[in-house]
């Protein structure tokens, strides 16, 4: 009975990061090791530790069994080929529409930016300083032409 309680509590409290085994402090990381929620550094550390610790190795085997039980209990519904093809076709059409709409929006944005750019260029080319410069250059050219 105590064995069963210990086994169950390991699964229950480990993800919360609480101590679950008095025998080895590393045992609390076994569930994280199995469900890939440890950092790569910790993963390597536990990997090494498992080679030399019978308690943790035993816990790992026990937890692996439980994970397999859970995997069998949780459905991952898959469609049959024809149904899958039909569904993917529907998703494909929908995402094409989303893509086209987004591209259409962007073309509109680029068009607006072109107009803005053109306006800025025009206001720069016909700014007061530049107009005065054109007049001055025109005068210089015509003076050179006449004399």
């Amino acid at each position: 009975m105590s064995c069963s309680l210990q086994r169950d509590s390991l699964f229950g409290v480990t993800p919360l990061g609480l101590e679950n085994s008095e025998s080895c402090e590393k045992a609390q990381f076994i569930v994280g090791y199995l469900d890939a929620s440890l950092s790569p550094k910790k993963l390597t550390e536990i990997d090494e530790h498992l080679k030399g610790c019978d308690i943790c190795y035993g816990q790992m085997l026990d937890s692996t069994k439980k994970f397999n039980t859970i995997k069998r209990s949780v459905p991952h519904c898959k469609l049959k080929k024809t149904e899958r093809d039909h569904f993917l076709e529907e998703v494909s059409l929908l995402s094409k529409q989303i893509y086209d709409k987004s591209k259409g929006n962007q073309n509109l944005v680029i068009k607006k930016q072109k107009i803005e750019f053109f306006k800025k260029m025009m206001s720069f080319l016909f700014s007061r300083e530049l107009v005065l410069l054109y007049i001055f250059l025109g005068m210089v050219v015509s003076i050179e032409f006449w004399f």
Partner: protein, 179 residues
């Protein structure tokens, strides 16, 4: 040519994601989203509809994100990865909320034509909040951080639900198998 140069002048170098890549993204995740949707509504057509509605809803609500994904500046490929991740979470999140609503509307009146409900009776006897957490972690392989974002729960809450649900499923199974 003139227009092309002007575009480059205004916007810098622009790389547009190919339509096929964009479509592939949705196709790739739609099957996983379907499996997720099925935990709320164990009916093929209903579950498919939840996924399609979710994609549509996210695309309408997250126009800016979609636009960024369609057009990625040449310097932003890491950005693309980040945006893909963000879109994935938004899609899962939408499936979760629409799935729950649809489940409440149907109020358990879904027929078990596929036999999934009876095959996975322990799982389907769990509440929706426990089903979604255990599915996302132990079937879809999501991280606690992602699950927390998808379901709008704190990481601590997710871990507590996960631990309790794992225990429930293991105990239910051990009663049946007698170990």
């Amino acid at each position: 040519m003139k227009g092309y140069c002007l575009n480059r002048l205004i916007k810098g170098i622009i790389i547009t994601v190919k339509e096929s890549d964009f479509v592939s993204f949705f196709k790739k995740y739609s099957l996983d989203l379907f499996s997720f949707s099925y935990i709320y509504v164990p009916d093929q057509l209903q579950a498919e509809q939840v996924v399609v509605d979710s994609i549509l809803a996210v695309s309408l609500k997250e126009k800016e994100l979609i636009d960024k994904l369609v057009k990625i500046p040449s310097t932003g490929f890491n950005d693309a990865k980040r945006l893909n991740g963000k879109l994935q979470i938004l899609l899962y999140s939408k499936v979760a909320s629409l799935g729950k609503t649809r489940s409440q509307q149907l109020n358990g009146s879904v027929s078990d034509q596929s036999g999934m409900k009876s095959k996975y009776s322990d799982f389907y006897s769990l509440g929706l909040d426990r089903r979604e957490v255990i599915f996302l972690k132990d079937s879809a392989g999501k991280s606690i951080e992602d699950i927390s974002k998808i379901l709008g729960k704190s990481e601590y809450e997710v871990m507590a639900i996960l631990a309790g649900t794992r225990d429930t499923l293991v105990n239910a199974s051990s009663h049946l198998q007698g170990f």
